[in-house]
Assembly symmetry: C2
Homo-oligomer: 319 residues x 2
């Protein structure tokens, strides 16, 4: 069985031998020192993480019982909360312990584990965010697929929104992972209206950026291309770039990707922790290449899933 087939075959079965607690089968959350079933997990309505979206977050996957690149996610998360001048109430090592414990408690072999640092709840009468006690939340839920493995053979129908542009980096730094998804959601609704399943946004200057939770890659004139700036440095994107550096299946160019080049690409694919490497088979209603997942896309998907077994990137939940 190839790694890709394993990916497609894996289901959401709890670990039978772990003494799984049913209340946690749908996931577990860490809320202010307590681990609770995710369905009961709630945050204060006055947390400025909600009423200002003043937060950063990260999401790491657990795949076949092991975290993938846990420490890389934690390092990126710390960089980002420092950029927002947040000081979470826990050290990175404590967060790490909590994330592992959440995966263990939820008994999910394949999970999506989120960590969130918020500005927190203002003390009574206080409006200066520098004086809010910052908060940390985390939760583990069953692995989320943007596109389920059985759908990936058919490929994604992608639409590039015409009327909505990605929030520019001069307003919001896209590398500080955030929930300012209004533009992405607007793009998704436009995609639905135009017969697509997912939407990507341009930068308003003729280049593609990213979509709701994924990066965009294209193969143009035999070169693998993805935008360099104005996008999140997704961990799946980063992994593919590292894998391509180690084993150059094709030349790579990380630079602005014009919509005109995207339109004539022989292959297009999306990358996300929530789904890995997802082939795009139609773009704005027209077939990409021969309308089937391309050879480079399939090869990179294979390598991406195989990389999950590399010890340097795997942190077993049960360790």
């Amino acid at each position: 069985m190839t790694a890709g087939e394993q990916a497609r075959a894996t289901t959401q079965q709890p670990l039978a031998a772990s003494g799984a607690d049913d209340a946690f089968a749908a996931g577990a959350a860490w809320i202010e020192g307590e681990i609770v079933p995710v369905a009961q997990a709630r945050i204060p309505i006055l947390d400025t993480g909600f009423v200002r979206s003043d937060l950063t977050y990260d999401v790491v996957s657990v795949w076949q019982g092991a975290f993938f690149r846990l420490d890389d996610h934690l390092a990126r998360f710390e960089r980002n909360w420092r950029r927002l001048r947040l000081v979470p109430p826990l050290a990175r090592e404590q967060m790490r312990t909590i994330l592992i414990e959440l995966a263990r408690r939820s008994s999910l072999r394949d999970a999506y584990v989120a960590m969130i640092a918020t500005r927190g709840v203002p003390p009574a009468g206080e409006r200066d965010p520098r004086r809010f006690p910052n908060r940390f939340y985390a939760y583990a839920v069953p692995f989320v697929w943007i596109q389920r493995p059985e759908q990936q053979a058919g490929g994604v129908h992608l639409v590039v929104a015409r009327d909505t542009h990605r929030i520019p980096p001069t307003s919001i730094d896209p590398t500080v992972k955030n929930f300012h998804w209004g533009d992405l959601v607007r793009g998704l609704y436009e995609a639905y209206d135009r017969g697509g399943a997912l939407g990507a946004l341009s930068d308003g200057a003729g280049n593609v950026t990213e979509g709701a939770g994924f990066n965009v890659f294209a193969v143009v004139d035999g070169v693998v291309r993805t935008p360099a700036a104005g996008v999140f440095d997704g961990m799946t994107r980063r992994t593919l770039l590292e894998l391509l550096e180690r084993e150059p299946l094709a030349p790579l160019r990380v630079a602005a990707l014009p919509l005109a080049d995207l339109a004539r690409a022989s292959e297009v694919f999306l990358t996300s922790t929530a789904g890995g490497v997802m082939p795009v088979t139609t773009l704005d209603g027209a077939a990409v290449g021969d309308g089937r997942p391309g050879a480079l896309t399939r090869a990179l998907r294979e390598r991406y899933w195989a990389a999950h077994a590399e010890p340097r990137w795997a942190t077993p939940v049960s360790s």
Copy 2:
């Protein structure tokens, strides 16, 4: 006592005769059919209103026991959730009843009453936001001052951020009230770093837009000016425009407001439900006019607070 003096004299005293419940003294919230003390009010961590900031909201003030322009706020709120294709679980009339009840239960004579419509919690395994059951939340808390009345004599020290621009309308429609405040918070931190108390953002093309929860006005060559587009149509802004139409204290021009004009303005002031009309006395460290609140600013503040007594705009809490 003038309306302005009344505004400054009013405090956060609960209504003595209302049988106030202490648990609700800090505010009350409506969470899925129940009214709870605001300190206990929590929302699901998986609500996409939090983990996507996929929502719209509105805030209406209660002043001296009466809502100010309650139905105008509700109309704007409805327009905005329709724009996001949200379908809250309650009709507008039910929301109205809840808001009044929250103000009544909290026993606050001066309150800040928020209503929020979110995309809601995804059903298990569902990623299509069109199939999420949308939610409605609301809460009443003690009146929030961006700048307290006793500080308004001194005026605001305002800084226009250099490195951060307002999210453009091609990405997020600023007239659909939202919590995408990352740019505004970044501007506020830049203001702090440069000795200011509040920050405003430009549009990246040399015009001022707005700040964290307020609109910007300036008096330039005797003309009252405020930006026409790329900003939220705040209710305090709208009220001033209507009052100026009824009683033209000065010529009015609603159009792009260049930073160069702002810099040479004889008066600058900010408008917000959380504070009314707030004079700006320094801009980027330099005195505005003679460095004291200007005559037009004071006249408009007076008229703004006096307008709270107009029956067409007042909805008594106890009615």
